[in-house]
């Protein structure tokens, strides 16, 4: 698409006598900048705002509500404030590495967006190694965190960096194994290919494909939470233990980059889960929709983003609920629980695919029913808690 556009610009002489390669380079850099500033940064920013409001509600607070309508511009104000802050570099820090670390982390995060699909057409590059590419690129984040922890020359940071490394190295394995269970079913690594084999209805999603993928979904979810350093696995920057872990010494724009990645990663994790297990951008084929590519893609993109943000909010909600695990519990969770179950899943799915290559309808419907009954029971419990707590008692006439 971009290539055609640039070709047309060269053809009608708008770019003058610019060589074709230079025009391509400028065009690609421009498009990259547009994607980064117009989309990726905003995703991170909006996510921080949403997180703060979600937490606030769970904690009987209101949250940021002063900048812009309902505080919607709070993230922008915070970002600008951080950009204008002085950047202090500790005297004893390894200056070059210290400066490099935030960019390594950011690169690891932004490049993942290359393969994240938003609709059947809206994807930067539908790599045929898509899911592998994303998992390897997001692993670059840990390299940055390690560098940050080491270069700060602070023992708290160092412990944070080491914890991050140990954590991600361990959790890559169950995550990868669970991702492979889906790949066993689809036979393709391409993100678009995986989505295309699912349907719009929950019974066509891979989460309800077999009991093994059902369990696999939760294993992937937990492992990806751990890889994204989210509660209950936010040990690398456990603020009550390690002050702020690897970001202790950072300030200003570099600090901003770390936070950009932390919240942006939420979206990436969620997008991976939606792609693999929750039907991606699949929408019901309403007559007439298929004829108009614009409306089709828009509906698909909205579906995908809504699903992803539901996942993002779930992760925030988990963070607001659960305490942090200890570092030995982190390891035993991975090696003693997630990994064996992931192996069983892998073998089970292999058998399942061998027996029912086209899927087993009854199991899919039964699992869907199970999923829905879990949701219904959940809301029953929610109503129970609401009823029991009764009306909030306040002594101050102001609230």
């Amino acid at each position: 698409m971009l290539q055609q556009f640039l070709d047309s610009l060269i053809a009608d002489g708008t770019l003058g006598g610019m060589p074709r390669d230079v025009a391509y380079l400028i065009g690609m850099l421009g498009a990259g900048a547009l994607v980064v500033f117009g989309f990726v940064l905003n995703i991170s920013g909006v996510t921080t705002f949403v997180e703060r409001r979600v937490w606030a509600r769970i904690q009987s607070r209101i949250g940021p509500n002063r900048v812009g309508p309902q505080g919607i511009l709070q993230w922008l104000a915070d970002g600008i404030k951080l950009l204008m802050k002085e950047e202090a570099i500790p005297f004893a820090a390894d200056s070059a590495l210290f400066k490099l670390a935030p960019f390594v982390v950011t690169v690891g995060f932004i490049t993942a967006f290359v393969a994240v699909p938003f609709s059947s057409a809206l994807v930067i590059a539908d790599l045929n190694l898509g899911i592998l590419y994303i998992t390897s690129m997001t692993s670059l984040v840990v390299v940055g965190i390690m560098i940050a922890g080491w270069a700060s020359n602070n023992k708290w940071s160092l412990i944070g960096g080491i914890r991050a490394a140990a954590q991600i190295v361990s959790y890559e394995i169950p995550a990868a194994l669970s991702i492979f269970t889906v790949i066993l079913i689809t036979g393709t690594l391409s993100m678009q290919g995986i989505i295309q084999q699912q349907g719009w209805g929950p019974w066509d999603w891979f989460i309800f494909h077999s009991p093994f993928t059902f369990v696999g979904f939760f294993i992937t979810f937990v492992s990806l939470l751990a890889e994204g350093n989210r509660t209950p696995f936010d040990l690398p920057e456990a603020e009550s233990e390690l002050v702020a872990g690897f970001v202790t010494e950072y300030s200003g724009a570099r600090y901003l980059f770390f936070f950009l990645v932390e919240w942006g990663n939420l979206y990436v994790i969620s997008a991976i889960l939606v792609t693999l297990f929750l039907g991606g951008w699949q929408v019901p084929m309403i007559p007439g929709l298929a004829e108009s590519p614009f409306w089709l893609n828009l509906t698909q993109a909205v579906t995908f983003i809504v699903k992803s943000y539901a996942g993002v909010i779930t992760m925030m909600w988990i963070r607001a609920t659960l305490p942090r695990v200890r570092v030995d519990q982190l390891m035993s969770t991975c090696w003693k629980y997630l990994l064996p179950i992931a192996f069983v899943n892998f073998m089970g799915t292999a058998l399942w695919v061998l027996i029912w290559p086209e899927g087993f309808r009854f199991a899919e419907l039964a699992l869907t029913l199970l999923g829905f009954s879990m949701v219904v029971y959940f809301f029953y419990r929610v109503v129970f808690h609401l009823r029991r707590s009764g009306a909030e008692l306040t002594f101050s006439p102001l609230s």
Binding site: Q59, S60, R61, I62, Y337, F378, V382, T394, P397, L398
Partner: protein
């Protein structure tokens, strides 16, 4: 072996079920009302107007009914009150030359307002005391020397009467009925 299996799966089940329950509790908070008070600007009434009567805010002195008995100065454990009361030889009246309270030092304990016979020194619900200099934290109540109040059987001065009434009510409601204990030695 079997016990080990049981422990293994019951562990998983326990984690899953308690996390499920905890998430239900937190989810129920999405529909509850927040308890935040948006101090100071987004409020229907000032906080000061909602505080209970006994609230111990910044001290205030009604010089009109101050008898110059120095009970508050003696009661203050940090000596943040300084009173200069002298008997004027010519008029035979107790003159208040100085009544200073260092609000920066005051710890709002309320020990000064208890022995006051007229409720002249009392706490207000005002609590916003931040300022830029220590000098501005000094409350100098006597601008020019005034005669101390002399208790009468019936207060007839129309200007002083309402202030005294307020002071006595303050004493009644603030201090307990048995509060007038002890003798001033």
């Amino acid at each position: 072996m079997v016990g080990g299996f049981n422990a293994y799966f019951s562990n998983i089940f326990e984690v899953a079920s308690t996390v499920f329950e905890g998430m239900a509790v937190t989810f129920s908070h999405f529909v509850r009302k927040p308890t935040t008070i948006q101090y100071p600007d987004r409020m229907a009434i000032r906080v000061q107007d909602t505080l209970p009567y006994r609230y111990r805010g910044i001290l205030e002195v009604d010089l009109e009914i101050c008898t110059g008995c120095l009970a508050c100065e003696r009661a203050c454990p940090i000596d943040c009150i300084v009173i200069d009361a002298k008997k004027d030889k010519s008029t035979k009246k107790m003159m208040l030359n100085r009544f200073d309270i260092d609000i920066a030092k005051c710890m709002y304990c309320g020990l000064c307002s208890e022995p006051c016979p007229t409720g002249s020194i009392h706490h207000t619900p005002e609590f916003e005391g931040a300022d830029f200099s220590l000098e501005s934290m000094m409350r100098r109540f006597v601008k020019q020397p005034v005669a101390a109040y002399k208790p009468k059987k019936v207060e007839d001065d129309p200007e002083v009467a309402p202030i005294l009434e307020r002071g006595m009510r303050y004493l009644d409601e603030f201090a307990d009925p048995a509060g007038k204990t002890g003798t001033d030695s």
